[in-house]
């Protein structure tokens, strides 16, 4: 019984990642405002981060920073490095998208994806 509970508990990170992906995509396809849509893209991005960071986790291990203690069993630094650079890049791509949206708002006065279809207005 306890083993079963632990098994289910260890599924939690993957469930969270899948939920974030699903809810993010759902919100994108029902979005009526482009800024909201871009925020939901960040949610989808977060799902990949949860997956990657959970991939590198190890119970009862320390951070891979050996300043105060000698090198010992630690969590995986590789996924942390990947996620770290990705977060910063993700922020700049979000800025690019927001710039697109800003220019669009200036020209068309609306930010509703349903009204902003290429060549069909």
């Amino acid at each position: 019984m306890m083993a079963m509970l632990e098994r289910v508990q260890s599924l939690l990170p993957w469930a969270v990642a899948a939920w974030l992906l699903g809810i993010g995509l759902y919100a994108i396809l029902t979005s009526r405002h482009y800024v909201h849509l871009i925020g939901c893209l960040s949610v989808v991005q977060a799902s990949t981060y949860v997956l990657l960071l959970a991939a590198g986790y190890r119970h009862n291990a320390r951070a891979p920073i050996f300043y105060t203690h000698a090198p010992s069993v630690a969590v995986d630094p590789v996924v942390q490095a990947l996620v770290l650079t990705d977060i910063v890049i993700g922020a700049t791509v979000t800025a690019l998208l927001l710039a697109l949206v800003l220019q669009l708002h200036k020209r068309r006065g609306t930010l509703d994806p349903e009204k902003l279809r290429p060549m069909r207005s």
Partner: protein, 597 residues
């Protein structure tokens, strides 16, 4: 020679990066055309290095570990480039396409800060890096670099339609990138490495693992989004129609095809030992490729905006590429590689002609431009010829590739796939020929189905002389006619090398083990290319003169085909929410296919 050869792998990637950085810092100080020249020289240098590497790695691939981090006891801890003919020739092709495009775009951008050239160089670097790398996250990094530079380049024109198309493009492709990253995470959890060879060993040790299968499904979905396959293809038409012409040349000429090359790498280098994955490729991806070929062809015929038409034709031909991959045999893969390059050259030339039309005729709507093409009749000749090549005219690289894929299809595969492929070729060829007839000959006074398709008024800067724009165009088409025999042989060897990757040698566990390459045999000639070309010509003439047929023919056609076309047009709605829904449908299709295995 060997020692200097070993120094080459980082150059085609790091060199343009450094040049792009320097252009960004000093670009505003340089006189007007100097950034153009610098960018072209950088692209030429990258291409030359790639050709050198391609010709000198025929016997054994060249493995280069960055930072000096060679594997320890078979465990890789750094990033490697493994250079062998498939990747290196693709890199050379990409550099060539960029040289032609930068020549075409000479003087296109008047700005003083060289931003366009910086972005183009980074775009090129991403694609070449993608072809040469041997590490999964490194592959993702170059994929992202080519995506982000494409996003930045699409919105360049700052017209309203450019921004909407750019948004659709950016949102869908970003979702694709996240899917790839998700798949990467899954396989990292299961196998614990990022190098292709280490991953392959891990996959071979766990052939039936559902986590590995799910990882492939996610990564393949992301790559199929980039490769514009049904049901992930909707963004391409919007993005293409609104990107500046030089950028469109690269999109259709190389970017979409590179996405499909990614599927090749994954299928053979990483997931070769996973039966569920191989089965998925052979069933679902084959079906999606065939569907793309058919849908792309029909949609192309329905367009009046010439760049949208060419975008759908790219979807169709990319579908044929995917069919070549999904057949999982040497003929198919060899044909796909040659067809990739041939199609890239021809499609690039066609987009340049579209750019010429925008610059000299002041429009891009087929119906609006009827008969106005006579001042630029050389472009019309090239366009007609390119249309025939798209239809399958039996000369040049496209035909060489197609014959190989046809050979693979003939060895007992579903008739419906063969039919879809031929339909794609015929329809796209007919569409381009119809445009040629209408714009340059003035035929087709009554428009058909295409009149109801979306269009808009566009023009581009008109201060470049016609000959300057025609030279790269004819260069590309001319190159696609050369060296078919050699290309077939090179493709054959390249496919063999791809299908038998030497993982132990890369990891330092064993000496080099060259791939066994069965004897190359010429493909027996077939009447199908001629039939396809004739059908395409006939269809184009029919489209231009249908109003002269008896009315009963017209109404029965409308009743039969009309609803199908209306559904297709409604589905391609331009709404990003719809596109995302189709992406989820595609993911579900992958899940269902796995369940049914």
């Amino acid at each position: 020679m060997n020692a200097s050869l070993a120094l080459l792998p980082p150059l085609p990637v790091a060199g343009p990066l450094a040049v792009a950085g320097l252009l960004l810092v000093f670009g505003h100080m340089l006189p007007r055309r100097v950034p153009d020249a610098i960018a072209i020289l950088a692209a030429i240098a990258a291409g030359v290095v790639c050709v050198l590497m391609a010709t000198h790695t025929v016997q054994a691939p060249l493995t280069y570990w960055f930072g000096g981090w060679t594997p320890r006891h078979g465990l890789p801890i750094g990033i490697a480039f493994v250079v062998y003919p498939p990747g290196a020739w693709l890199g050379a092709f990409i550099a060539l396409l960029f040289v032609a495009t930068l020549l075409f775009a000479w003087g296109y951008y008047d700005e003083v800060q060289a931003h366009f050239h910086v972005l183009m160089l980074l775009f090129m670097t991403g694609m070449i890096g993608f072809c040469l790398t041997h590490d999964l996250f490194n592959l993702f990094v170059w994929f992202e670099l080519m995506s982000v530079s494409a996003f930045a380049l699409t919105g360049y024109a700052l017209r309203t339609d450019a921004l909407e198309g750019a948004l659709n493009f950016t949102v869908i492709n970003t979702i694709g990138s996240y899917l790839i990253l998700g798949g990467l995470g899954l396989i990292y959890i299961e196998v614990g490495a990022l190098d292709f060879s280490a991953l392959a060993h891990g996959v071979n040790a766990m052939p039936g693992s559902p986590v590995i299968a799910a990882s492939f499904a996610l990564m393949a979905s992301g790559l199929l989004i980039k490769g514009a396959q049904v049901p992930f293809h909707f963004w391409l038409a919007d993005a293409h129609a609104v990107a500046p012409s030089p950028v469109s040349v690269i999109f259709s000429g190389a970017m979409v095809s590179i996405g499909l090359y990614g599927i090749v790498i994954l299928t053979w280098s990483v997931f070769g030992g996973s039966p569920p994955v191989q089965h998925l490729v052979h069933t679902l991806l084959l079906g999606l490729g065939a569907a793309s070929a058919a849908v792309g062809g029909v949609m192309a015929l329905m367009q009046r905006h010439i760049k949208r038409l060419l975008a759908f034709s790219t979807i169709s031909h990319a579908g044929i590429l995917l069919v070549g991959v999904a057949l999982l045999d040497r003929d198919g893969l060899s044909g796909m590689l040659v067809y990739l390059i041939g199609h890239g050259l021809v499609k690039g030339a066609l987009f340049m002609i579209a750019g010429i039309m925008l610059a000299t005729l002041g429009g891009i709507d087929e119906i609006g431009l009827r008969g106005k093409g006579r001042p630029i009749w050389p472009a019309g000749l090239v366009m007609g010829f390119a249309g025939l090549m798209l239809a399958g005219l039996p000369i040049g690289l496209m035909d060489t590739g197609m014959e190989r894929i046809g050979l693979a299809l003939r060895s007992g595969h579903e008739l419906i796939v063969r039919f879809a492929v031929v339909m794609g070729m015929v329809c796209t060829g007919a569409a381009v020929l119809r445009v040629t007839g209408r714009v340059f000959l003035g035929w087709g006074s009554v428009a058909g189905e295409e009149e109801r398709s979306p269009t808009n008024a566009e023009r581009e800067k008109a201060d470049r002389p016609l000959w300057l724009m025609l030279v790269p165009t004819t260069l590309l088409v001319g190159l696609s006619l050369l060296g078919s025999h050699d290309a077939d042989r090179i493709g054959w060897r390249a496919a063999s090398v791809l299908m038998q990757p030497d993982h132990d040698a890369v990891l330092g566990l064993a000496g080099p083990h060259p791939a066994s390459i069965p004897a190359w045999t010429k493909v027996p000639g077939s009447w199908l290319p001629w039939l396809a070309t004739m059908l395409a010509l006939g269809l184009a003439v029919l489209e231009l003169t249908w109003h002269k047929l008896p009315r009963r023919v017209g109404t029965s056609y409308d009743r039969a085909i009309g609803p199908v076309l209306a559904v297709l047009r409604a589905v391609h709605s331009g709404s990003v929410g719809d596109y995302v829904t189709w992406v989820v449908v595609g993911l579900a299709a992958m899940g269902v296919t796995f369940a049914l295995i």
